[in-house]
Structures are given as structure tokens and as C-alpha cells.
């Protein structure tokens, strides 16, 4: 039984996400995490549950009352995790997680990290339609709400991200961060999605695309020639192979082109493999954020 499936059985999404975060933090070299607000904003009365490290002990010594420091960015950064729930995400390598599951864990881990850093995090999805599941919040207990909604996501439909991006763009009141977890397998080489991402970036929002893909889809796993079919499409089956160099080259070329177009729009693009542990993916993402 793989670690992934074990964690699934033991604790589900929450355990998976927490394990990923712990692994991520363990390897973290205490590099400053860009994006978490560091500007002092003010004090407020201590509430049960506040982190002890935010308690201003100097003020306590003077007043015999507990106060916590508030920073400007903590209350101001809004982040949305947008998860692709189209049918193409419901594909897995043998003994591996589906891309949707991987995205769910990845999103859960990111929510954990960003909420810990004081960001307000919301959740949206696209597939069957554009939907905002959870508005961006940073209050206590919000992580639980996010994980709950993440767990409820199911693969269906085949719509693109453009509608959801517009929806999220409409609810983002100020400069925000949008993390899109998608395999970018849309019609017209995801042209609409790329354009929508570019528009969002042009508004000033920080846009990151995390692209999970299975090894089978990458063409990096040896597999016998077989008859392949697309469960989502009505087209017929194809006799072919996913192991030949031609297939890998075509896949690579497709995603290279998408990466190029995203970078042209100043959108961060991080290709991921579902065969890699989520914490590695987090590190890969983090490497783009180091100051």
C-alpha cells in the first residue's frame, strides 16, 4: 500500500494536506515567504487561539494585559485556489492518485500554508461550470471549511477556467493571488484560459498555474500498445502507443507552448507530476517565490 493510500485511509484530505505541509516546512530553509504581510498594523486584544508568537510581551509587561500584533498584509491579501474538476482530471497512473486528488491535496496544503501566513483563502472550481465554493477568509476554522469543500469536489464536465477566473476576478476586492490547479487539457490548446489568466495578471493579481500530469500522460511510463479511448469525448478508439518518443514529444511540445504563452503574460507556470510527492511540488512552487 502506498503512503498516499495509507494517509487517505487514515485521515483523508486533511491528513494528506497536513503531512505535505509538514514535509514542506521540514525542508524549508527558513527563507522568507514572500507574500505574507510583514508591515505592523496595530494591536488587538488577545483571543484564545491566537498564536503565542504574535503576543506583544513588551506591552504585556507594561499593561499586564495580553495583546497581539497585527500586520497589514495579514488582513489584506486574498488568495483563491481554483481547482480544475473537469473529467480529464479523473485520471490516474496505476497505484497512483488521480490528478484531481493530487490537486485537492495540493490545494489543501497551500491553503494550510497561506492561512498560516495570514492570507485570506477562498476556493473555486471549474469543470461542470464556474463556481466559488468558499469565499476568501482568514478567520479561525476557515481551513476546516476549505478542506471540507475540497473533499466534496468531483470530476465532471469539460468546461474551461475562463468563466471561473472572471468570477474570481469579480470577487477579488484588491490585489490578490490566484493559484489554478489544472491539467490545461482544453480545446484550442487552452487558449481561452491562457488569455483569461493573462487578463487577471494584467489587473495586478498574482497568478500561478500548477499543472499536475500523470506519468502515463507524460509518456514516461512503458506501456504496451493498446486501444485508447477518451471517456469524455464521443470519438472512437485509437490504436496506438503512449510509450513511443513521438508521443512524449507531442505532449512536451503542447505544454511547452502553453508555458511559453503563460510566461509571456507573466503568469507563473509550474509543471507537476502526480508521481512526485506533494511536498516536492510545494518546494518546486516555493522556488519561484524566493526573494
Amino acid at each position: 500500500m502506498s503512503t498516499w493510500s495509507l494517509l487517505e485511509r487514515l485521515g483523508g484530505l486533511e491528513l494528506l494536506a497536513r503531512t505535505a505541509v509538514q514535509g514542506f516546512l521540514t525542508g524549508l530553509h527558513r527563507a522568507p515567504y514572500r507574500g505574507a504581510g510583514q508591515d505592523f498594523f496595530g494591536h488587538r486584544a488577545y483571543q484564545q487561539g491566537d498564536e503565542p508568537r504574535h503576543i506583544d510581551w513588551r506591552l504585556f509587561g507594561r499593561s499586564d494585559r495580553l495583546f497581539v500584533r497585527e500586520y497589514r498584509e495579514d488582513a489584506n491579501l486574498q488568495a483563491y485556489l481554483i481547482v480544475d474538476t473537469s473529467l480529464s482530471m479523473d485520471f490516474a497512473d496505476p497505484d497512483g492518485p488521480t490528478k484531481l486528488r493530487y490537486a485537492q491535496v495540493m490545494a489543501g496544503a497551500l491553503a494550510h500554508i497561506m492561512l498560516a501566513a495570514g492570507d485570506a483563502v477562498g476556493l473555486a472550481s471549474f469543470g461542470a461550470g464556474a463556481r466559488v465554493h468558499v469565499p476568501a477568509r482568514s478567520r479561525r476554522g476557515h481551513l476546516h471549511d476549505l478542506l471540507l469543500e475540497l473533499e466534496r469536489l468531483r470530476a465532471e464536465g469539460g468546461g474551461g477556467a475562463a468563466g471561473t477566473l472572471e468570477l474570481v476576478g469579480g470577487v477579488l476586492r484588491r490585489r490578490g493571488r490566484v493559484v489554478v490547479l489544472t491539467d490545461m487539457l482544453e480545446e484550442n490548446a487552452a487558449g481561452e484560459t491562457v488569455d483569461a489568466l493573462g487578463r487577471m495578471r494584467a489587473r495586478g493579481d498574482e497568478v500561478i498555474v500548477l499543472r499536475p500530469l500523470t506519468r502515463t500522460e507524460e509518456g514516461t511510463v512503458q506501456r504496451r500498445a493498446a486501444v485508447f479511448y477518451d471517456p469524455e469525448a464521443r470519438a472512437g478508439a485509437v490504436h496506438g502507443s503512449v510509450s513511443d518518443p513521438g508521443y512524449r514529444a507531442r505532449v512536451q511540445a503542447y505544454y511547452d507552448d502553453i508555458g511559453r504563452r503563460l510566461r509571456e503574460r507573466d503568469v507563473e507556470y509550474v509543471p507537476l507530476s502526480t508521481a512526485d510527492p506533494v511536498e516536492h511540488a510545494l518546494r518546486a512552487w516555493l522556488s519561484t517565490r524566493l526573494v
Partner: protein, 458 residues
Amino acid sequence: MIDVARPGFLIAGALLALVPLVLHLLARRPGRPVPLPTLRFVEPSIRTALRLQRRPSDILLLVFRMLLLVAIGAAFSEPSWTPARHGTATVLLLDAAVPAAGIDSARRALDGTTGVLIVFDTAAATFTNTAIPAALDSLRENATATGSAPKRSSFATALAALAGVHALLPAADSARAVLVTVPRHGAWGRGVPAARATWPGGVELIEVPAPPLERRADVAASRTARVHGAGAVYVRAALEAVGYRVVAEPGPDVDVLFVLDAGTSAAAEGDFEAAGPDVTVVVAGSALPLVPSDQAPWRAAAATDPLPPTPIDIGGVLVAGAAARGAGDAAAGAHVIAHWLDGRPAVAARESERSCVVYSATPLGAGELPLDPAYPLLIQRVAAGCSRGTAAAPAGTDAQPLDAGALALLRGSGGAVALREATAAGSTGRPLARAALLVALLLAGVETWLAYRRTVPR
């Protein structure tokens, strides 16, 4: 029924048809179709498709491939189709000389069976199916109108006509031959044994009673004869056929006394010695020494180089079948009754103060002489003795009955003849090789279409 000229090819085709079946059973089943989120990156591969399809997992394709191989084998095996045959047909040989009762017997023999009617006299006419009743009706009318007018018939002609009946009975499994006739010597000929041999089965013989004979006006109804010696039965039959009353018991003188050989009984010698001056004595062959030399019509000679017997000419009528030819010549004072074909005397007669003595240089009741249709004529002429009347065909010559041997030869042995054997040399089966080849081509086309349809990606 379908016959196969070269069954080896059919067997080979059937064995080859097992090859795709074995491959089907041994080959791994192709993997189940694999879902993939998108097919845009998968290049359709005909080679892959063909490799996957070389495993004949498709049952329909497998069946067509097996049928194709069997059809190819069948095409090379030269199949032919012969319509099914049913039952035993009747081939009726009807003597045109039979009276009306014989025609009724023929009608009963054909009743309820498929058959062929062959009416014969010296020629044969064949009737089949619906023409048979009309032919029988016509024959019956003719027989009733003409009564018992004697006609000559030929068993040889009738038996020869049997050879071609298989072509007239395509739907029959076998055929039985039935001969309706008055069994008489008149219809027997030298070709009968050979003609009989052409029909391998038996011949049912329906014997029709002979009509009463007409007697010649110059033959006294009260003339009597007695016959002694080997072959007496044939001579007696011939004498009776020409109107003589043949007596066997010793008694008053007969008109004609036959002593056919020297080994006769004491009764024969007694008869010979007692024969009165009005008795015509006929001796033959080795019985010549019984006749005193001054009365003998023949002068015997030593048979140093015996000549072969030829037909005997009795005034233009030839009688064949003599068993032997005695050496010698007609004696002085004798006149020749019959000649061999080379002109030498065969039968001579001599009148004396005693009586008329006739000598035949050939045994009169031996060989095939009694089987000749003109045999009664010969006997009659010999019995006429020293009379110098011209020979004429006696009435009722044809009515001389056949002996048991001749009847047995006609009947033969066995039953119906299987017509399939009769047609073995020339089969009437319809060749099916081309049809089998067309079927094979059609199967090949369907198989190719099925295989192509599965290889072209949609």
C-alpha cells in the same frame, strides 16, 4: 447427393481451417481499451492495429476465416451434385409377338412402378412414362386384330436395348428387367448369350402360353416317329413342332425312326430290324454301321483330316451349330438332302426295296444345332426321307419352346441392377467446383472487409 472426386483437398481445407481456431485459442486476448483523458497526442498506428488484430479474437472474423479455408479446399476437391434417386424402376421387355394375354401381363408388371417399356421383334422401340399406356393399348389392339400371326422376334435385340436404360431413369436407384415373351427358339439367336451378359442382374421371365400352331397341309397329322439316341429330346421336340406324333413305347411301325448314334439300346436295334418297308429310317453319325452297305446312302471314309463343320444348307435355308462333321460322301444311288456350305454333302438319302434310309454326317441332337431357329426345318426335311419336295419353313418354327438351359441363361441370376454403378463411367452429377470457388471468393471479400473495418481507426 454431393460427390467429391478429390477428397484429399477437402480434408486439407478442413485441417487448415483449424489453424486460425488454434491461434484464436492460444493467443492472448487483446487488452481492454484503456481510457485516456485526451487522444490528441496518440498517433493512430496501422501497424499497432494490425498487430492487435492478428490475434483473431473477433469470433465473426474467425468463423469467416475458417469457412474461407474450407471453401478453398472444397473448390479444389471437384465436388459434384447428383440429384437424389428413388426406388427401383421396371424395364419391361415386351415381345411384340405375344398375344393379348401377354400384353395384359406386361401392363400388370408395370402397374404402380416407374419404368421403361421396350417393345421388340427384330428391332426395339422404347417408351417411357406417359407414352407407355398408349403403346400397350396399341399393341393390344394389334394383337387382337391379327390373332396369333407368327412374327419373328429377337431376344438378342431386346437384351441389347437394356444397355441404354440408365439414361432413361435418372431418378431411380436401381432397375429390374422383366421379359414378357413366348419362350421359343424362333426368338433365340447366336447373339443372345453375349447380349445377355451386358445386363449384370437377373431378368424376370413372364412366360406367355404359345398360341396353337398351324399345321402344314402336307404334314399328315397322324405321322408318327420314334427317336433313339443322344439328343433325342431335341429331335422329338422338333418333330412335334412340325406336327409329328412322337411315340416312345415299342409298338406298331412308326412312319419315321431316328437312330442317332451307335450306342443305342436294344430297343433301338429291335426297332431298326423290325422297321417295315414304309418306314423312313434316319441314322446319324456313328449309327451308320447299322445300315447294310447295300442300303446305306453314305460311303464313310477315314477321318484323317476332319473338316470343320459349317452351317448346313437345306435348299437355301442355313442351319448352324453342327457339333461335328463326318468324313465321307454320298453313296452311289443316294441323293443329297442337305449340303455343307462348301458344297459337300451333309445329309443323304437312298431308297431301296426295303425302305428309305437317310444318313446325317453330323449328330442331329448335339452341339448348338437344336438351338438354331431352322432346326425343326432340318429335322422335318430329314424325316421326309426320300421325298424330293422343296424345303419350306414350317409353320410354327418360332414356337419351338426353349429348353431349360436357354431359359436359365435368359433369367440369369441376381436381382435389380444398381443404376449408380451403371453410370459410374459417365456421371450425370453437376460440377460444383465453380460454385465453391465463388463462395470462397465471397468469403474472402467479407473477411477482408471485416478485418479492414477493425483496423481503420475511427
